[in-house]
């Protein structure tokens, strides 16, 4: 089975760990690869995905049955569009509870769509337990811990064991502090900044930004390949 597309869920039960930034970077990475992309925002508050990528983002909720239908029915359909979900911390458990109950990952796999969960790691007990729970519940999803380097050194890596045969840890390197203000003001699109988009950035800053983006896109390409490889290995196991 060859994968038609992927659905990536950016998650953490903690707020303010970089989920929206990661979701934006992923969306722009896929756009750079000329893929059709749809993003889903399950966040509240300011500087949300919907503000950075207004045309592509659908604001969603899992609080009620209508919201669930609007989100998951849309996620499972249209198998050739790559999807990124920015999962707000207070929607973490309701979202994964529904995902588990309705057999979402299995159905996606049946339709040749990979489901990846990018879990931003933090040292607290809640997150460690949440990761463990995801690992137990979603054996067929590609679960990858993400180390957002701005949060500090990765001292707790042993608490986030890798899924055998799955993707390794994804590194989100820190951006130089002076550059953050350029990317943190909506609407800012990384893809547009490549083509000399609307925002005025000094050349030096632009070069540094591009360097940072290249490192990150390398991580994403590696992630893509690992997901593909894991899928191939699974197919071989099934067919042998």
């Amino acid at each position: 089975m060859s994968l038609r597309s992927s659905i990536t869920i950016v998650a953490s039960p903690r707020p303010r760990v970089g989920k929206t930034l990661l979701a934006r970077l992923l969306a722009d990475f896929h756009l750079q690869q000329n893929r059709s992309v749809a993003t889903f925002d399950l966040n509240t508050g300011d500087r949300t995905l919907a503000q950075f990528l207004p045309e592509k983002t659908k604001v969603a909720t899992v609080r009620d049955i209508n919201g669930q239908m609007a989100l998951f029915d849309r996620l499972i359909a249209d198998e050739d569009t790559t999807k990124v979900v920015d999962l707000g911390h207070d929607s973490f458990e309701p979202f994964f509870s529904v995902t588990h109950q309705i057999g979402f990952v299995e159905e996606a796999r049946r339709r040749s769509v990979a489901v990846a969960i990018l879990f931003i790691v933090t040292p607290d007990h809640t997150s460690i337990e949440a990761y463990r729970s995801l690992r137990a519940r979603f054996a067929r999803a590609a679960l990858a811990p993400v180390h957002n380097e701005i949060l500090g050194p990765a001292q707790h890596r042993d608490k986030y064991p890798l899924v055998g045969g799955g993707p390794g840890i994804v590194r989100l390197p820190m951006l130089a502090p002076g550059l953050r203000r350029y990317i943190d003001t909506p609407p800012f699109s990384f893809a547009d900044s490549n083509t000399g988009g609307a925002v005025d950035i000094p050349l030096a800053a632009h070069v540094e930004l591009q360097r940072w983006l290249r490192r990150i896109y390398l991580e994403f390409r590696e992630l893509d390949l690992r997901i593909l490889l894991a899928d191939l290995q699974a197919s071989i196991r099934l067919n042998s």
Binding site: I65, M69, F72, D73, I76, V98, Q101, I102, G103
Partner: protein, 252 residues
Amino acid sequence: MARPAVILVGADKGGVGKTTVARTLIDYFGAHQTPTRAFDTEWPRGTLKRFHPDLTEVVDVTSVSDQMKIFDTLGSAEAKVTVIDVRAGLLSSTLQALTDIGFLESAKKGQITFAVFHILGPSIASLEEIAETARVMGDANYFLVKNFINNTTFFEWDPATYNSYFKRIKGAEEITIPKLNEMAYEQVEVASVPFVSFVGNKGAKGEAANYSFVLRGYVRHWLGNVWGEFDRVKLVDLVAPKMESNVRQAAG
């Protein structure tokens, strides 16, 4: 030759979900490839028939000729399992009628397998129905069904009271039907298809349908739990002990 089995699904009160339970039973036996036929006593329009039109006949259970249609054909019918969805308020009188025609005697003698699924309502009055039923049941297989499907509230009776009634019937088993999301339930109603068809995204004639994936997921999960209860009380062994059952993974 396989022994015929009759399952009465009834309640003395309306709206407790007996037709829903009858539907899950029909799907369950279907998944176990156990040929089943059903009689819908909600004469004349029926409530079960629209979900399982090919297996179900609407009958007037108070008419002798319709009674003969059901019980005289038990041995000769191709389908060895007969599910009877008994109209609200008629459970006790139906059981009495069965006693009168000697049906329960045949069951006692082992010529027929007989089971009653008694769907309980949450009110305290429903407990009295158990006592009523116990009077006529004798040795038949008795299943007390607590149906939470559309009752999010607790049952009014306390466990001690419940147990005292429950213990009056020898060999009684308890079955719990858990809650199903209201919208999911409603959509199946609107689609007028068996639960299994809804889960499989199929219409009434087996054609591809377009039901919500989320709702199908909820129904699949719920049906799996309900069938888990039927597995737990070894229902297939009870009604079709000699058949090899290959369970189709219809419940996902």
